[in-house]
């Protein structure tokens, strides 16, 4: 990157480090921080949407819809953690391939599960065997996002369901007295008021989501954990111009600091949002704000 980097062996410590930190592979490491942020940026709204859908389903008057919503929340929340991540990625992949197999190769007569193998026809493979590398990576990332969204959607659903029930009943009764339909009451009265009750739970969920991002590594994505292990391991002078010993401890220290900083920033921002949302609300927090202002 820098001009003085042409011959690393002659450099002083500081310059050596500057050159080392700007080689191509390091940029893959920096980019993977972006991957984490993108994952968060996509997963958070998707999970919120899933959660909103499931929460409104769990309130539905139509039986099967309600059972589905409640079942989804109960199953995902009741079963332990990363097992779900490992399970969903394979299960979703197989489900997609199975559906495509049924649609694209109707005259395939062999069973799909042959002993230990899962076999679908070539045209149903996801991604297609001849697809370029970036499609494989994007597909893997897409599966990861979907998995995160399903799992965190259930948690968000639980929070939103609680928030919907926390909206004072009198508000809904008033809406009904004004002749609003069930649908109108839901969209115009319930949904706008529930956010202040949901925010503490949702911000907690956001913190949990941040701390769940390193699990991307388990889903086979080349994320920060992957690169930290890869770049930090001992490099011999034979293969690189920048040989060094086992530096993984420093790379993981950097990750630790990154996450701590991210958590701290989120805490501060969420506090601000909470302050703004409670402004003028008939809750203990809003009351405290009113008293402080006087």
């Amino acid at each position: 990157m820098f001009e003085f980097c042409t011959n690393p062996e002659t450099l002083g410590n500081f310059q050596w480090l500057a050159c080392y930190l700007t080689i191509g592979k390091q940029f893959a490491f920096y980019k993977s921080f972006g991957v984490v942020l993108i994952l968060l940026a996509i997963t958070a709204p998707t999970a919120l949407a899933f959660g909103f859908g499931a929460a409104s389903m769990a309130r539905a008057r139509f039986g099967p819809l309600r059972w589905f919503g409640k079942g989804y929340i109960a199953v995902v929340r009741g079963v332990p953690d990363i097992a779900f991540f490992l399970f969903f990625v394979i299960a979703l992949d197989q489900a997609f391939e199975y559906l495509r197999h049924k649609a694209l190769c109707p005259d395939w007569d062999q069973p799909i599960r042959q002993g230990n193998d899962f076999i679908v026809c070539q045209a149903a493979k996801l991604p297609l065997g001849n697809a370029p590398q970036w499609i494989h990576e994007t597909y893997g990332f897409f599966l990861a996002v979907l998995t995160f969204s399903i799992v965190f959607g259930a948690f968000a659903a639980n929070v939103l369901y609680g928030a919907m029930r926390a909206v004072p009943r009198a508000q809904l009764e008033t809406a009904e007295a004004y002749g609003m339909t069930h649908r109108q009451t839901f969209w115009r009265i319930l949904v706008p008021q529930m956010w202040v009750y949901a925010l503490p739970g949702l911000s907690n969920l956001w913190m949990v989501l941040i701390k769940a991002t390193p699990l991307l590594f388990l889903l086979g994505i080349e994320d920060i954990v992957y690169w930290a292990r890869d770049l930090g391991s001992t490099k011999s002078p034979k293969f690189t111009a920048y040989p060094h010993g086992d530096w993984r401890i420093w790379y993981f220290l950097a990750l630790l600091v990154f996450y701590l900083a991210f958590t701290k920033v989120s805490e501060v921002v969420l506090d601000k949002i909470m302050k703004r949302l409670t402004h003028g609300q008939a809750t203990a927090g809003g009351e405290a704000q009113r008293k402080a202002a006087v």
């Binding site: 929340r77 009741g78 079963v79 332990p80 953690d81 990363i82 097992a83 490992l86 399970f87 394979i90 299960a91 197989q94 599960r113 230990n116 193998d117 899962f118 799992v151 965190f152 948690f155 949990v208 941040i210 701390k211 769940a212 991002t213 390193p214 699990l215 590594f217 388990l218 954990v225 930290a228 292990r229 930090g232 086992d246 993984r248 401890i249 993981f252 220290l253 990750l255 630790l256 996450y259 701590l260 958590t263 701290k264």
Partner: protein, 268 residues
């Protein structure tokens, strides 16, 4: 091979007894049940030891954070922030590589690079931080009248802490602490995916479950088995903690007793 033979061969495989080789082909459901169950021994070991030891350290940390002395408060606050603010997964990795480099300096640290001690230390510190925060919250919400009554009876210093403050803190913290315990058992599944090597394929329940899922390309059998084991474990934890909760609340009138609300969390 009958299922009894499988049990004899693999029931204690995860701690190094029985058959040396894992099954490689013709996987039966029985094998999956037995091996994953065998791996649960590690989860129980990690969870139980970390929970018991972390409990006492958490009390110290909570008292430190509630203390008016800056020299006690600041370290406790930082300890809690560092372990609650970063992912456990990264903590495992960091600790493993830290112990690796320490090992090359002092041979004393060589047992720390294996999971049974190294991961245990991380889990101990982690649960101490989470529990410390719970206990700290409980310390703050001890009713003023309780401590005033203690003063009126002439309690002071350590005897006041032992007889009044600490039991009340535990009573208030217990529902949240139950969730933390469940949470910790779930977190133990991360150990063998985070640098700590599973020597001779001696791993925990998730290690074996993913082994089977990888070999059979069929996640629909091993992971539900794993989930079943964990639900059982969670029920046992709830049972034990519910019993303690009853004991802690036994002096209260019926309707004032606080019921346990189980809200397991996902990931730390």
């Amino acid at each position: 091979m009958s299922c009894w033979e499988t049990i004899a061969d693999y029931a204690f495989r995860s701690i190094g007894f029985g058959e040396r080789l894992l099954p490689r082909s013709d996987f039966t459901v029985c094998q999956q049940f037995v091996l994953i169950g065998s791996g649960m021994l590690w989860n129980i070991y990690f969870g139980l030891v970390a929970l018991l030891s972390g409990f006492f350290f958490a009390t110290v940390v909570a008292l430190g954070k509630a203390s008016s002395n800056v020299l006690l408060r600041k370290p406790s606050e930082w300890f809690i922030f560092i372990f609650r603010g970063s992912p456990l997964f990264i903590q495992f990795f960091f600790a493993y590589f830290l112990f690796l480099s320490l090992k090359s300096v002092a041979p004393f640290f060589s047992p720390f690079t294996s999971a049974w001690l190294g991961a245990l230390v991380v889990l101990f510190l982690n649960t101490a931080a989470y529990t410390g925060e719970i206990f700290y919250g409980a310390l703050l919400s001890i009713p003023k009248s309780d401590t005033e009554a203690a003063d009126a009876y002439g309690f002071s210093g350590f005897s006041r802490f032992k007889k009044i403050t600490w039991p009340t803190m535990l009573r208030l913290a217990w529902p949240a602490y139950t969730n933390e315990a469940i949470f910790l058992f779930h977190a133990t599944t991360l150990v063998f995916f985070s640098g700590f090597p599973a020597r001779q394929q001696k791993g925990d329940a998730l290690y074996y479950a993913s082994y089977f899922a990888d070999k059979t390309f069929n996640p629909f059998i091993p992971y539900p088995i794993l989930a079943g084991y964990f639900i059982l474990l969670t029920l046992v934890v709830i049972g034990v903690f519910g019993w303690v909760n009853k004991r802690l609340n036994r002096h209260l009138p019926q309707e004032a007793r606080r019921k346990l609300r189980i809200r397991p969390n996902l990931i730390r």
